[in-house]
Symmetry: D2
Subunit: 369 residues, 4 copies
Amino acid sequence: MSVNTTGRVFRVTTWGESHGPAIGGVVDGCPPGVPLSTADIQPWLDARRPGTSKHVTQRQESDAVEILSGVFEDDRTGGPITTGTPISLLIRNEDARSKDYAEIRDSYRPGHADWSYDAKYGVRDYRGGGRASARETAVRVAAGAIARKVLGPEVVIRAALVEMGGDPIDRSAWDWEQRTANPFWSPDAAAAARWASLLDEVRKAGSSVGAVIEVVAEGVPAGWGAPVYGKLDADLAGALMSINAVKGVEIGAGFAIARLRGEDAADEMRAGNDRAHPRFLSNHNGGILGGISSGQPVVARLAVKPTSSILIPKRSLNRAGEEIETRTKGRHDPCVGIRAVPVGEAMMACVLADHYLLHRAQTGRAGPA
Amino acid sequence: MSVNTTGRVFRVTTWGESHGPAIGGVVDGCPPGVPLSTADIQPWLDARRPGTSKHVTQRQESDAVEILSGVFEDDRTGGPITTGTPISLLIRNEDARSKDYAEIRDSYRPGHADWSYDAKYGVRDYRGGGRASARETAVRVAAGAIARKVLGPEVVIRAALVEMGGDPIDRSAWDWEQRTANPFWSPDAAAAARWASLLDEVRKAGSSVGAVIEVVAEGVPAGWGAPVYGKLDADLAGALMSINAVKGVEIGAGFAIARLRGEDAADEMRAGNDRAHPRFLSNHNGGILGGISSGQPVVARLAVKPTSSILIPKRSLNRAGEEIETRTKGRHDPCVGIRAVPVGEAMMACVLADHYLLHRAQTGRAGPA
Amino acid sequence: MSVNTTGRVFRVTTWGESHGPAIGGVVDGCPPGVPLSTADIQPWLDARRPGTSKHVTQRQESDAVEILSGVFEDDRTGGPITTGTPISLLIRNEDARSKDYAEIRDSYRPGHADWSYDAKYGVRDYRGGGRASARETAVRVAAGAIARKVLGPEVVIRAALVEMGGDPIDRSAWDWEQRTANPFWSPDAAAAARWASLLDEVRKAGSSVGAVIEVVAEGVPAGWGAPVYGKLDADLAGALMSINAVKGVEIGAGFAIARLRGEDAADEMRAGNDRAHPRFLSNHNGGILGGISSGQPVVARLAVKPTSSILIPKRSLNRAGEEIETRTKGRHDPCVGIRAVPVGEAMMACVLADHYLLHRAQTGRAGPA
Amino acid sequence: MSVNTTGRVFRVTTWGESHGPAIGGVVDGCPPGVPLSTADIQPWLDARRPGTSKHVTQRQESDAVEILSGVFEDDRTGGPITTGTPISLLIRNEDARSKDYAEIRDSYRPGHADWSYDAKYGVRDYRGGGRASARETAVRVAAGAIARKVLGPEVVIRAALVEMGGDPIDRSAWDWEQRTANPFWSPDAAAAARWASLLDEVRKAGSSVGAVIEVVAEGVPAGWGAPVYGKLDADLAGALMSINAVKGVEIGAGFAIARLRGEDAADEMRAGNDRAHPRFLSNHNGGILGGISSGQPVVARLAVKPTSSILIPKRSLNRAGEEIETRTKGRHDPCVGIRAVPVGEAMMACVLADHYLLHRAQTGRAGPA
């Protein structure tokens, strides 16, 4: 199976390097008849776009997406709809200052993929991290926008930054409205204010901080997923861990559930509106039981490490194996976790769309029996 | 792609329910010429086997594995070696007391897969959890034993329980020798003693506790993995999250890295014995950079929830949608995390063997360039 | 992707060698709720079974299939139904006379897989052809029986032998009833009589003959398949060519269509009972247009070579590379094409079931828009 | 698994419609360090390009390929080499006269994919056949050029037209040099002369003819392939059958082998230069035994039907289900088989490259044991 592809029947393949002519991807397996134009994709890309505040990289990219295939005019509406054939997405690289990277051509930035890529391939496009650049995630966001259209409006996927540099939000202050009112996707206005100060300090120090992101999908019916390897949570874990700089993934209560007693961890059930929609008294399991969605909100969290591209010199090696000190002078994000928020949403959307279609394949239904 | 299969070129497919006649699996893509008999597999199964101490389920299973295909006598040694064709593994179910489960036939145990399976399939083998039973992991352990043989003796994979019921080990007391000297896989003798008391209390209370497992693979050369979706850490996350009751996965420092500054998270490099083997001054990244192994030990952690099968009654529903109280009277593990330790090792072995072969496919090499 | 697996969402993995303890397979992705017991499978296996007439190998195998997982009692009927989890199939090898093969242990039978397996793996289970034995096809037939249940009674799949030893049937005499009235699956009684004489002569000469099989699937709705690589005909070609000894596959008119003019090859359309069911005036395209079913019968043909296991000595090499003469003394089929008829049906069934579920995944429908 | 992707570890995904802005594809799994520029690809595209003689469609396309990712400058030579990351290929559509197709917007051309696409998707890009257009094969040819680079110069893949309109070549006159000396890829000059006259007549009549293509790969070592579903011949059959208008595939003697006796079909072996390279006295099996290459030339044939786009009116239906007469006025190939010759070579190259890497994955070797 392709190492640059994710998904089983709703499949996303991406390609492209940070400083090549373009990045892009192919979405295969999309159902036909889904209204889709660049207007459905662009807003999500704009949310991830660099250069939008002083807190993120100043690289200027319009990130304008082109749809090169897989859509055609609807007989009835005249508007563009998917045809069921592969959807090719293309985003041009515009502000690629490759000279910024000339000095890392022959050196390995600690914590970055420079060394491991060289060890694997013996060659790498060092400019801006090449294939290892977070720029690749723009294509994920575009694919995620298509996945949302497949899922329909009843599945609502939102992510928020819940911790930055070790400073968590106050969960009792959670307000989804807040998260678009600050540059950090924080659902807690007070935390956002603290983080603004923190990032100013971090940026001046030439340093970086990590973050924790929570992704929540509401409206997922019970029944999506599979019992063993193709579990919904296993696929989510793989998809979220595949995002650049992510080092941890939790479902529901995550590591905290390992500290609960069985009687406290159980999500008790009461009768809901109908047999297919029970009411749960808690959601420690994050909406997934035995690899299959329970009908509760699907909740995942991901830990994003501080970017390895910092101005502070660190000990390392060059390609000749000689000991050096290195630092990265290019434009970078003091907290890559911020721009990873829309990416986390996109991966959630892609995994859910895939399992929706898989569930439909096996059962002929969209939801529970 | 199959939902009951894991891996890309070293592929493991499992089948079987807890109370059916047998469980088993097929390992496809194994290289030819690998010495393999049941003696290579059985010790790992014995390590996972139920009924070995009072701290785990008292179900009695010999878990004797049969190899039904894929091996043949070596011309030279006369001993059995793999032939490169699929290896079929079979383990009979012996002590399946199905009547224990008769009363959960029509009820959903909270936190268990009962409800979600019914929602998906409209039918389920309720006996012992059916396909959702941790019994399936015996086959993973058998497959992992084969993966170890593929990896060879230089790759050493060991896991340990590092926290039980919220009580962590003292990492400064870590002693790999200790972990087989106690029934908990604890590398810290003092923690093991505390956990023994804890589990006595938990068992008497009819309750259960969670655990955290750490899996370490030493001897993995730099270069295994892939840049984007088929990342070594993404595949590990998926494989580990697919283990029953796991709700969180970390690589290296995991969630803790999100609280470090960039300069503290960087794993600095110094010259090693040769260019292909640099020396790292820390391992916050858990041996994986940009989805590709760095040559450091690969380190992952998984959070295991307290088993949902407890004697304490909890509110729930039956299949008719009526509100009930339910408790599980069968034989269960007060801490399923204990028996998940060999399973974590097995999944690490399978993922590494798969990426070893994939790396060899793409580069023609076993290790770094 | 597994080399011992076929299918995308309805997936069949097989394992086993001719003279090992057993052969078997795993069917994954089967919809839940399908009534399934061994009684649904055994008749198809009996049709393929060796030793049923003097015209096929005299190896005695009961080919009794066991279902080890994936079925459970239906709440309502009490009868066994599929649960949606993997179905494990097992068939014991009984009459494996391995000593027959001792003398080919170190020699390569020309036209057989002996040499190529050794070249690939450096080791092989030489007994009865090991993994290369046509015995593996018993599992395909069992899987095909499950696929038929998934497809339902409206899809009728039948195959016939249409040529043996260069002697074709008279197509104007085609009578489906006839094919079970003779030991050759011939739809033409007169051809069957001629073939009986032919095979007597061939068997006495220690020789073998080839055959051509036609597989027809009626009741396939329009819309199954895909535009490019996952075409219905491409998947059929791969699946049929994967049957032992098959060297050619045709769809519809096959090679003969290359001799027609465009105006003669076109399958003209007239209005049918409704828009979704047009009437075609011919079926040169074998029910598949652009990789997608048209609603006409799906028609494929496969060419089966004469078995390479013959009593007539042929020049060859031994494993040491020395020139020898070799002949095969075991029990063999003078025309393996006969027993390949149920296998061709089975592969057609598996490919159709897979595309039925894939179509349902992408469109939410079972048939045409 | 993606329906628009072919291959297991060397994977090709294509996208694009005949009259969209562009067509393209992604090649994933390519080894690093392979010298690759557009100059390595363009000659093969030029060989497939329309408008090169009066015997093929007059659509004018420069078919200039762009490489958008996956290559970077070699440290040593400065020239472009593959990096091991996905290679994105893009070819712009230039001379897309969509108005030619306006009248088929609402009608189904018999023998074409119009009806079956509509049945599947309920929507289609009717312009030039959309995704069903042979234009997609340009991307296959580009991918095949990369596959050739992976295989290296020792594997030589060439195809020839061996029959057109029912008129076969004289195989005793086969001369590989001839095939580029005529516009038909004929290895027999006399046949080419006859075909030129035939096509003049066919074109004037507004009709079309079919063809048979033979693809030969020399230099393939013994050992590539797999025993059961992932057989080299099964994958070849699927890949070749996936080419537009192909209705039959043969390996080696193909259907003719079904008319031979076992003793005549056997490819006898004699000692070659060394144990790994036996000498065969014939090649009825087309270089593949038991799904694995034998070291002989790999030989496949494909039957291409006459194009369904003809000027002669045929009975059909429109989208409303009404009976009509239809004919296709656009620019078409009187014999699409001609331009399919480079496509057959490309698919052979892709399948071989894939199995080369798979063999390397499982055995660590490029060739025989």
